[in-house]
């Protein structure tokens, strides 16, 4: 009952702090919108600088055959499954002209086609297997887009050579995409991670809400009442959970409005988000227990926030690191971070169309972490701030 009294009071405070509430609710939807703008609702286009030095060959009928131009056209024609362009050709006369493009990251890679390229292709067409030529490629290898741009350009050039020379491939490769992943735009693949943002941001609200009670001295006043720390933190957690659920739902709605399609049931994704919110709020309580003021809570909360952002697979996949295994599942240090499980579960549901049973492990892990962090937060809060009573 007292927990509900605290819940009601906290909700009033949250609703009246319009800036904080607005920022918390708008954060993830804003990022969803930004990603949509970034990818123009689709996916990344990888620009490739093509240095076509092919001199071409004049055929007996008087026409000019330039294989380099055809490779360039083939690269430009590579698209995603929805028809949107995947590669973009930027023509460069020589390597000196291509280098600034690579340095400025206006091109992800370069492909240099030699002067004898057409001649070699024609010789191969006629069955002369003694000839060969060299396509040179490269770029800034520290550019994360380099591998994709260079690889796609080379694969396209190779496909052209095979088709133009009638060379049968030595090995056939067949791609089998997992779930509906082949049909996902890059914008859609980023949506689960963006949704996690809204959950991670709750750590600030949780830590600062509790720290305010300490800083203003209100905690002392509350200590004189029969209210327990469980009532106080439980009431605050319930209020924040509501805000977290609202933020997640808003993010989903914005994503759906911008063309996102969920492959699995959205309600399961919402359940995952809410439980993940609970565990992040629990972490916020731990942070608040270690601080005595709102500004301290804000500063300290940055540490777990950064851990959750960069070490839970939200932004980029984490390398495998097994501490031990339970029931055949390897447990890594990242598993203590709630977003690790949330991002896997959301990817499974939203991208691969998974159902409740498919994310049972992640849900169990999230529930366990939520209970663990909440109870640890209550214990620590009592020890750090209420022990003297």
């Amino acid at each position: 009952m007292r927990m509900l009294i605290v819940f009601r009071k906290t909700m009033r405070e949250i609703l009246r702090d319009k800036w904080m509430l607005g920022l918390t609710l708008a954060f993830a939807p804003f990022f969803v919108f930004l990603y949509w703008l970034w990818f123009q609702g689709g996916s990344t286009v990888y620009p490739v600088a093509v240095i076509n030095q092919d001199q071409g060959v004049t055929l007996p009928d008087g026409s000019v055959y330039n294989a380099g131009e055809q490779v360039s056209a083939a690269i430009q024609a590579v698209t995603y499954s929805d028809g949107r362009p995947l590669l973009k050709v930027i023509e460069a006369p020589d390597q000196a002209a291509a280098e600034p493009l690579l340095r400025d990251r206006k091109a992800t890679a370069f492909l240099q086609i030699p002067p004898d390229f057409s001649q070699t292709i024609l010789a191969l067409q006629s069955g002369d297997r003694s000839v060969t030529t060299t396509l040179t490629f490269g770029g800034d290898l520290s550019n994360t887009y380099y591998m994709i741009g260079a690889n796609l350009a080379l694969t396209t050039a190779d496909a052209y050579v095979q088709q133009a020379t009638g060379q049968k491939p030595l090995v056939n490769y067949v791609e089998r995409p997992l779930g509906a992943s082949a049909t996902r735009s890059e914008f859609e693949t980023y949506v689960p991670g963006t949704l996690i943002f809204s959950i991670i941001m709750l750590i600030f609200l949780a830590a600062m809400t509790v720290a305010r009670e300490i800083e203003t001295g209100a905690l002392r006043r509350l200590q004189l009442t029969p209210m327990t720390s469980f009532d106080l933190l439980g009431g605050i957690t319930l209020a924040l959970l509501l805000v977290g659920a609202l933020a997640s739902m808003l993010s989903f709605l914005v994503a759906l409005a911008l063309g996102f399609h969920s492959q699995g049931p959205v309600w399961i994704a919402v359940v995952v988000s809410v439980i993940a919110s609970l565990s992040v709020i629990g972490l916020g309580l731990v942070v608040a227990s270690l601080t005595r003021s709102v500004s301290q809570a804000f500063v300290v909360a940055n540490f777990p926030m950064a851990l959750m952002m960069f070490f839970s697979g939200v932004i980029f996949p984490m390398p495998a690191m097994t501490l031990f295994t339970i029931g055949g599942r390897s447990i890594s240090p990242y598993d203590i971070l709630p977003p690790t499980h949330a991002v896997v579960a959301l990817n499974k549901i939203l991208t691969l169309g998974a159902g409740l049973n498919d994310v049972a492990y992640e849900l169990t892990a999230l529930v366990s972490l939520s209970v663990l962090y909440f109870l640890f937060g209550v214990w620590l809060f009592r020890r750090m701030h209420l022990r003297s009573a």
Partner: protein, 311 residues
Amino acid sequence: MTSIVLQTQGITKRYGPLTAVKDLSLAVHEGEVFGLLGPNGAGKTTSINMLCGLLRPDAGQVSIRGKVITNGDAGVRSRVGVCPQEIVLWKTLTCVEQMQFLGELYGLKAAYVRQRSERLLRDLDLEEKRNALARTLSGGMQRRLNLAMALVHDPEILVLDEPEAGLDPQSRVLVREYVKSLARRKTIILTTHNMDEADRMADRIAILDHGQLLALDTPEALKRTVGEGDVLEIELQNDASEQARAALAPIVRDVSAANRALLIRARGVVDLLPAILAALSTAGARTGEVRLRANSLEDVFIAFTGRRLRE
């Protein structure tokens, strides 16, 4: 004889090497206004926190109506209402909302809390601000609301920490009158630096310093401990305090000197004034302003705690 409501028996609190409160034993009677005086760092706040169960003593015990509260019994702690010196309010709640919140946390029925809140707000002249957010109230209003919050659950013991601090004269009178009206119906523990406030309001006063109880009695009895009668203060315009004291010895017994001023305590000191001034003149002391006042609690306070500045 009134019964003892709150009692401490040898309570001690240490913070590392510092002993904030040492072996403090007090008994506060039902319906009395009990003043707790002491310079900064004397141990008043630590004592108050132990009295209301917010702080566990390292030794000794505190009991309310005979029931020990050091076990953290919230039911016993609920009998105490604390009005802290700092304004402790939830700034984005209205006056009524925060009283309702606190009252319900004490387990009181919503309707009762509403009724009681309205009454307290009326008594403390905050009725018109009942639906105003606390952050929009003036400093004086916030202080009055701070007091109302301490009373929302109708506690048996009310602890007031510097209740008149930060109040304008009108609010000060209002709060003083209100606290006076509570006296006898509630037991009030008052900590203050304002000696006049303590003199006017307290039935008994305890003086603490360095965590120890130095004196405990009624204001009048305490004043008697530093001398009978009135106090005459005479400023000296030259450095002749020693000669002045020697010259006055045959006329008055209690003469002290500090900062080029003489403090003379004696019964019927007004009648002795011509003789005093003549003796000073003969001794070569040039006199400045002459003030006559009644013996005050401040004299008691300084006599017990000294003139040395505290942090």
